[in-house]
Symmetry: C2
DNA sequence: ATATTTAGTCCACAACTTAGACTAAATCGG
DNA sequence: CCGATTTAGTCTAAGTTGTGGACTAAATAT
């Protein structure tokens, strides 16, 4: 639980403290870094030298902080060497991206494919091709890709890198990491979880505080971010907002229960038979009363489910993503009304509803961002991997 | 976020690693400690000497681990010097306890009082008397009390030590820590949270994994323990199970909403007018059909609310405490049935329902346990306080 | 031009942990 | 009963990392 602290760990911890400060506060002089971390100037200088040598930081210009005195050399996070790979398998597309250490998106590609029609092996083979092409292109940009993350639409076993069941893909027990077999460390995670992280790093970001990110697709999932970290629950199944009970005597759900949120606000409940999301939005824009009523009903149900979620989890903000992003204008009002009615008297502040600012790539980007996050949290571990590069850090 | 690591922190971290290992695995030899922590025998010896000098550990006998070789000296956590104070203010009683470092309950006292009839100042003055008496008695036992925790029936601001509103007591904006004014560091927390911790350390314990502890009193609260730590939410209001929506069109609730769990399974919904809990249990034992039906209804509603909670939070186990402990035989079956129906198909394992093994003192004990936990997590910080003792540790 | 202020480096030293030699105390085998 | 073997724990010299204060560098103020 509390691992032993050796000298190496002390070093690693301080390296992470410096890099983390650069990540959180932006470019800083060594003097400012010393102030914020509480380390001495000497130590900060040594650590910064190490980071610069590893290609994780660069000096960039000088700035005067006060009125007089020698100007400081500004050090900032560098994206020129270290990067991470984000991949996503979804029902009707594959996607991949490369994000560098400064969380700049360097490459982003999407491939529309009907993955329900293909075998898992074929889908994964196609993803491998996409990933390999991205790795080659990243190499040409001078980037060294330290790790990858695959987003999947279903609960995953993160230890083994396998999906037990992905109902929307029709997959059962597929060993994704193993089959994908890329030449770098790859981890898998749930799409809803990674989409929440995507919103954190590529959307509204830290201004959200602790937030619940609702990613409605066919099912309705949610990712909870607490103190900048995902909350996963004991078995990684936390955030199943779609099966929160809205009305115990409601319509039967595929989960075996009845009156789950999914039956009121899932894609199947909103779209007319054969219709797609764009069609629904067109009808809403055209003033179709039936469509508006369906959204009203879905929004209220969402508000009820979110009320339960807020009572249990107490987030600062709720971000509506997935299909609820384009429908935001029609569902957020009834949802917000339901929440205010039910929560207003007990709490000083009812969580704010906001729309997701990242599009369909939230999970892909979030996955790559998560890898970057881990590098920043432990730069020392990743320096070893980069030792093969020309200018190796001095012992 | 990631504080700088200095030499002192390294020391403190290793001290915590050793003490934590002793807490988790029980008595161990220095050799075993070295193995488990990954530190060398030399370092472990030094740290153990420090802990023994501080009165946090003692040697006790020798045991042979293997077949041959010199027997090791067993070191175990010692409760003879360091202790913590747990206090509780509730509607109809005050309680206090002293728990030592080995989590043995050394003193425990309860005082039945109607606290709704008195002013907050009078209640807190009476609590101060109770606490002072406990501190004196602890001193006579040779214990040095390092800190205290006050459990309150309502949401608290842990930063300032104040309650904003405690509806069951009729309190508004009471600065508890400040008014109590004890000669040791005191923190306040929510009763439901601390009851969950009480179950962790003085009840079924670590075998529960991540668990949700339901503590039904007048309202229905819940504490969520994840990886041995409380989950509090962004503002400390997480776990408000009582206002999870069971049926959106249900009866109006004092919170402004309708169909909250509290209206189906709260004390007011279960007890006949003027009846107390013992009376209800007597009726149930006597086979009263109306009472059984009320419990059946409450149990089902609880199952529905817990279904939502499990979907969102994904715990291993759910512990029923508070009024649900004596009613366990009557409510657990319908609650479990509802959960299995609604969760069975999606999850490999539906969380187990168990009854709380700690009684009414769960919160009082949990509070003291929390203080002990903090001492074990950072023994170095508390050594300073004990430096006044006769044999001060060698530099 | 000189004083003052702030940034960053250098160097001796201090705080830990480590590695491995060494001592202590048990069992095993003859 | 004595020496070989095994395991526990201590001691000492050395290694790694951070610290504190002196020192150098580069700017503004007077």
């Amino acid at each position: 639980m509390s691992p032993a602290v050796r000298h190496g760990a002390m070093r690693a911890g301080n390296l992470a403290a410096v890099l983390g400060e650069l990540d959180r506060r932006g470019p800083l002089t060594r003097a400012a870094l010393a102030e914020f971390t509480g380390l001495t100037k000497t130590t900060v200088s040594k650590l910064v030298a190490y980071l610069i040598d590893a290609g994780m930081a660069v000096e960039s210009g000088t700035v005067r902080d006060g009125e007089r005195g020698r100007p400081g050399v500004v050090v900032r996070l560098s994206g020129h060497r270290v990067a991470a790979l984000g991949l996503e398998i979804n029902v009707d597309y594959l996607a991949g991206c490369v994000v560098d250490l400064s969380r700049t998106v360097r490459l982003l590609r999407t491939q529309p494919v009907d993955n329900r029609a293909a075998t898992p092996e074929d889908v994964i083979a196609r993803l491998r091709e996409l990933a390999s092409a991205l790795l080659v292109d990243a190499g040409e940009l001078g980037l060294s890709v330290a790790g990858g993350m695959v987003a999947l639409p279903g609960p995953v076993d993160r230890a083994t890198g396998a999906v037990h069941r992905a109902p929307n893909l029709g997959w059962r027990d597929v060993a994704v990491t193993e089959t994908l077999d890329l030449p770098l460390p790859v981890v898998v995670d749930n799409e809803a979880n990674l989409a929440a992280l995507g919103e954190l790093w590529f959307g509204s970001g830290a201004s959200l505080g602790d937030f619940l990110h609702v990613s409605g697709e066919i099912g309705i999932g949610a990712g909870l971010v607490v103190q900048g970290e995902l909350f996963r629950g004991a078995h990684g199944f936390a955030g199943e907002l779609g099966h929160v009970v809205v009305s115990p005597e409601g319509p039967a759900c595929r989960c075996g229960g009845s009156g789950c949120l999914e039956r009121y606000a899932g894609q199947d409940a909103l779209l007319a038979p054969g219709e797609d999301l764009a069609g629904l939005v067109a009808r809403l824009r055209g003033g179709d009363a039936a469509a508006a009523a369906a959204c009203e009903r879905a929004g209220s149900a969402l508000g009820v489910a979110l009320t339960s979620a807020v009572n249990l989890i107490d987030p600062d903000t709720i971000v509506l993503g997935g299909i609820f992003a384009p429908l935001y204008g029609w569902v957020s009002a009834p949802a917000g009304r339901a929440m205010r009615e039910r929560l207003g008297q007990m709490r000083r502040r009812v969580p704010t509803l906001v729309v997701s600012r990242v599009g369909a790539d939230a999970a892909t980007l979030g996955g790559a961002g998560q890898v970057i996050q881990r590098i920043i949290a432990d730069p020392g571990a990743h320096l070893v991997m980069l030792d093969a590069t020309p200018s190796s850090p001095a012992r």
